[in-house]
C-alpha cells in the first residue's frame, strides 16, 4: 500500500531520514547513495536525508561515516575498548604485506614492477594474493605501456577498514607528494625488481587473469 502511496508523493523529510536510518543501520556494509535511493520509496532524496542523519548522530556512540561514495553506521572509535567481545583477531600481516599495501594505497594505480622497484625486492604472489583476499586490493586498469601490465588499486573495503573517506585522506599523502616521494622516477640502481622482469612478461600477466 505504501508503494502505491509513494507513486503520488514522497514521504515527508523526517520520514525519509527515518528510512535512511533504518536501511543504513540494518546493513553491515556501506551503502552508496544509489543503493539507498533504490531502497527508498519513489521521490525520496537520500542525500538530503543523509545530511540531517549525520548531524543527528554526530557525537553519539554510533555515527554515520562516509566510505568512498558509500555510507555506513560505525561505532565511535573512542569506545573501541568496550568491544573486546566483538574484536576480531586480525590476521597478522607480514611486513612485506603491510608495505605492499601502503605502496598500493599511496601510489595507486601501481604495477607489480613499481612495487618491487620501491621495495627493492621481488613481491611474492602470496603477498598480493593475501591483500586481494582481504579485499583491500584489487586489479585496476592495465597500464598503457609496453606489456600492458596490470595495476593494483585499493578497494572500498580498504577505506572502510581504515576509516578513510577516500584514498585522498591517507595520512601524510600531501607531504609525500610535495616531497616528490610519490613520483614515478625511472631507476638506475640494480634492485631485484629489474631481475624480476619475467614476472611482467605478457605470459605472466595472462596467467594472472586465467586463474
Amino acid at each position: 500500500m505504501n508503494d502505491n502511496d509513494s507513486l503520488f508523493a514522497a514521504p515527508p523529510q523526517a520520514e525519509q531520514e527515518r528510512m535512511v536510518e533504518a536501511v543504513l543501520f540494518a546493513s553491515a556494509d556501506p551503502l552508496t547513495l544509489a543503493e539507498l535511493t533504490t531502497r527508498l520509496p519513489h521521490g525520496c532524496d537520500a542525500a538530503e536525508a543523509l545530511v540531517t542523519l549525520r548531524r543527528r548522530y554526530s557525537g553519539r556512540g554510533v555515527h554515520v561515516v562516509k566510505v568512498g561514495d558509500a555510507y555506513a553506521f560505525r561505532t565511535a572509535p573512542d569506545l573501541g575498548h568496550l568491544m573486546h567481545k566483538e574484536q576480531v583477531e586480525a590476521r597478522k600481516l607480514s611486513r612485506a604485506a603491510i608495505e605492499t599495501l601502503a605502496i598500493v594505497a599511496y601510489h595507486q594505480p601501481v604495477t607489480r614492477a613499481e612495487i618491487e622497484e620501491i621495495r627493492g625486492v621481488a613481491v611474492s604472489r602470496g603477498t598480493v594474493d593475501q591483500l586481494i583476499e582481504l579485499e583491500w586490493v584489487r586489479f585496476g586498469r592495465r597500464r598503457m605501456t609496453p606489456g600492458r601490465p596490470v595495476t593494483f588499486v585499493v578497494t572500498e573495503q580498504f577505506l572502510d577498514h581504515f576509516s578513510l573517506e577516500s584514498a585522498r585522506d591517507l595520512p601524510g599523502l600531501k607531504e609525500l607528494r610535495a616531497a616528490g616521494l610519490l613520483d614515478n622516477r625511472p631507476s638506475f640502481a640494480p634492485t631485484s625488481a629489474q631481475d624480476d622482469g619475467e614476472d611482467e612478461s605478457p605470459e605472466g600477466q595472462s596467467e594472472l587473469f586465467e586463474d
Partner: protein, 265 residues
C-alpha cells in the same frame, strides 16, 4: 663516544643498535639490498636527503666483505648491488669522464638516496596506516545486520495462444488415435511404466537399462529402439518421482538403474 651520541639529533634506539651489530651475521633479517642499505644509512645519523652515498657504498662493501670472510652465502642480488656500488664509488671518486654517456655518478647517487628516502617514507606511511582506527579493532559495524531478504517473485507468463495450442496438441493426439494403423512396433511409455512399476522392486543393484527390455522387443532394431526409448522415458519419470536412481558413466556408456533406497514405492 657518549659525546658523539649526544650530538646526534636522533639517537639510535637499542633495537637499531642491536640490528647494526647483527648485520654481519644476520642477512636473512633484511629484505634485500635496499633494506640493508637503509639500515646501514641509519648509522650515518643524518637526514636521508643529506646522506653520503659514498660513505654508504663503503659501508655496504665492508658488510659484503665481512660476510665473505665469515663464509656467509650472500644472495645474488646482494652481490649485484655490491658490484654496482663499487662501480658507483669509483665513479664518485674519479673526475667525470666527458666521453661517457648516460647519467652522471651524482645522478646515480642521488637516485639511490631517493630510493632509500622513498622506501623509508613508505615504511612510515605503512606504520601510520596500521596505527589508524581499524574496523573490528577500534570501531565496529552493526553486529546483527538485518539483511535484506530477497524475495524472489516469479511471475509465470502464459498467453491464451499457449493455452489453446497446448489444448490443441492434446486433442490432436486423440483425434488421430483411430487412424494409427501400425502400433506393432511401438512400445508406449505407459506400457513401459506399467512394466517397470512391477519390476523395479527387484532392482536393488545397478542394472543395465537394456536388460529390462521385454522379451521379443530386442529382436528387430525398430522394436528395440522403441522399447528402449519408452523404457528410458519411463525411467526418467520414475526417477523424477523418486522411485529409481539412474546413472551413466560417460556419454554413450550403458545407462544403469536401481531402486532408490527408501523410495516412495
Amino acid at each position: 663516544m657518549a659525546d658523539e651520541w649526544a650530538e646526534t639529533p636522533e639517537r639510535l634506539s637499542v633495537a637499531d643498535r642491536l640490528l647494526a651489530e647483527a648485520l654481519i651475521v644476520d642477512v636473512d633479517g633484511f629484505e634485500g639490498p635496499l633494506d640493508l642499505l637503509l639500515t646501514l644509512s641509519r648509522t650515518q645519523k643524518v637526514d636521508l636527503r643529506k646522506i653520503s652515498v659514498l660513505q654508504l657504498a663503503e659501508q655496504y662493501l665492508v658488510f659484503v666483505s665481512k660476510a665473505g670472510a665469515l663464509r656467509i652465502e650472500l644472495a645474488a642480488d646482494y652481490l649485484v648491488m655490491a658490484a654496482w656500488l663499487a662501480y658507483l664509488k669509483s665513479r664518485l671518486l674519479l673526475p667525470p669522464d666527458p666521453t661517457e654517456d648516460g647519467p652522471s655518478a651524482e645522478d646515480l647517487a642521488a637516485h639511490l638516496a631517493y630510493q632509500l628516502e622513498r622506501l623509508q617514507a613508505m615504511r612510515e606511511a605503512a606504520a601510520q596506516l596500521m596505527a589508524r582506527d581499524q574496523k573490528g579493532r577500534d570501531f565496529f559495524a552493526r553486529g546483527l545486520p538485518e539483511d535484506v531478504t530477497r524475495r524472489k517473485k516469479i511471475s509465470y507468463s502464459a498467453t491464451l495462444m499457449d493455452l489453446m495450442q497446448a489444448y490443441a496438441r492434446i486433442r490432436t493426439r486423440d483425434d488421430f488415435r483411430p487412424f494409427v494403423m501400425d502400433r506393432n512396433n511401438v512400445f508406449t511409455m505407459e506400457e513401459a511404466l506399467e512394466r517397470l512399476r512391477g519390476l523395479m522392486g527387484y532392482a536393488g543393484q545397478w542394472t543395465d537399462l537394456t536388460s529390462w527390455l521385454p522379451a521379443g522387443w530386442e529382436t528387430t532394431p525398430e522394436r528395440r529402439r522403441s522399447a528402449t526409448a519408452a523404457h528410458f522415458a519411463a525411467i526418467l519419470e520414475l526417477t523424477k518421482a523418486g522411485h529409481l536412481e539412474v546413472r551413466q558413466g560417460e556419454n554413450f556408456a550403458p545407462i544403469q538403474v536401481r531402486k532408490r533406497d527408501g523410495g516412495r514405492g
